[in-house]
């Protein structure tokens, strides 16, 4: 039997830092955004107030396509219910940790195209997750 992602999985609440306020604000509008350094031009992940490449504090958030491909993944079979955790490489470049949801676990593979969605954590903050792109 093919195991399938069961939704919704309870998402743990974590302390939200000031550095994620802009992300949360955009997510409220359904928009997935990523940070880009205005000095060296590079995007990065996870988001920081100082660019991890050139240390410039001049970081701007921009809308991203929300499209990417699976860089690596695993299905946590031991957990009940099982869940898929992955690194997704965004079309804009950075690789981010996420869950793959609304999927058949046995169809997941590296290179698989995925698209972003949002789930709500226990503290009412938005968590970007991905599902197979049509």
């Amino acid at each position: 039997m093919t195991e399938t992602h069961q939704t919704p999985r309870a998402i743990a609440a974590t302390l939200r830092q000031p550095e994620s306020a802009a992300f949360q604000q955009a997510a409220t509008q359904g928009q997935f955004s990523i940070p880009r350094c205005q000095h060296c031009g590079q995007t990065h992940w996870y988001p920081r107030a100082l660019c991890p490449f050139c240390f410039s504090p001049d970081i701007q958030w921009e809308s991203a396509t929300g499209l990417g491909t699976i860089y690596s993944y695993t299905v946590m079979r031991r957990a009940k219910p099982a869940y898929a955790i992955a690194y997704v490489q965004l079309e804009e470049g950075p690789i981010m940790m996420t869950n793959i949801v609304q999927c058949h676990f046995d169809e997941l593979h590296i290179g698989m195209p995925v698209k972003v969605g949002f789930e709500l954590a226990a503290n009412d903050t938005w968590v970007p997750v991905f599902s197979p792109a049509p």
């Binding site: 690596s72 299905v75 950075p94 940790m97």
Partner: protein
Amino acid sequence: MSIKDKACIVGAYEHPTRYAPDKSVAQLHAECAAGALADAGLDKDDIDGYFCAGDAPGLGPMSMVDYMNLRVTHVDSTDIGGSSYVALVAHAAQAIAAGKCNVALITLAGKPRSSGMATGTAPRPGNPDQPDLEWEFPYAPATVNMYAMAAMRHMYEFGTTSEQLAWIKVAASHHAQHNPHAMLRDVVTVEQVLGSPVVADPLHRLDCCVISDGGGALLVTRPEIAKSLKRPVVRVLGAGEAVKGQLGGKVDLTYSGAAWSGPLAFKEAGVTPESIQYASIYDSFTITVLMQLEDLGFCKKGEGGRFVMDGNLISGVGKLPFNTDGGGLCNNHPANRGGITKVIEAVRQLRGEAHPAVQVPGCALALAHGTGGSLGTRHGSATLILERT
């Protein structure tokens, strides 16, 4: 300044317990210290430097120096997870070389087994201000699924197979059968590893290390003092350390921090991987071993799978005897941190005191390597090269 030839390991002790519900963590640290002192032939009052990491209870060096009632001129509580104790040998050598202390004690101890800790499978939040926490913890990262992602990518890039990973466990089990203290003493086959339940694809239950109570201790001192003792002298030849993370989002799971710490250690020691006769390689999971072997230069990148097959890591059988105590995979992973047992077994090999069935004949040059934290996110890496004189 180099630490080459500036310090020697004169005491090494692995606590025999693997289950200690009746002991405190501080007690285990102190029992390990007493064991190392007896091994070296030194007294408690000879200790003037103390080194520990995150497993030390309370306020680390302050709590443990007070508990053991030491008088020290130097302390260090660098915490890079399970690799800490490999790095702390180098830090002790640095302190000795700089004249900050003469006899350095390093301890590790903990009780994850008797406290029922789901070490590898339960997502554990760190400090609330840990900068990655809000971007990762909602996805339920645990120890095993982060290593599993490294294994999955390695398989994709290089064609590594679950059978090849299983050979690492098989080799460890061949060694553990001779260790009366090992948690898992039964020799296992590749088929048994593959037949154990999948925990997180592609890692099976038998790809994972044990969860054990216990601890260990090391004593490091200057060569003049080492020569005055009645034990074989094990010199520190070289060391390297590194921290590798997600590289700002340019994540690359195909290599570990060993690719950085290893060359530093070999350069300082003035030796090459080909000359290493015994290697203690951190084995939180089978994939950890495979990637470190590649990154340390024992084989080319991507060829680790072929390198570990057919018993190549079994003492007396293969080219590179590894973890002859049974390692974390079969023997012991005290406090979920295997670094100190890696150094201890390397010392046993160099002294000729490993079990006769696994002793490397004439072992004079050994390597100990630790990977602490998570291969899939951020980890510490420490390499140590030791020589018998």
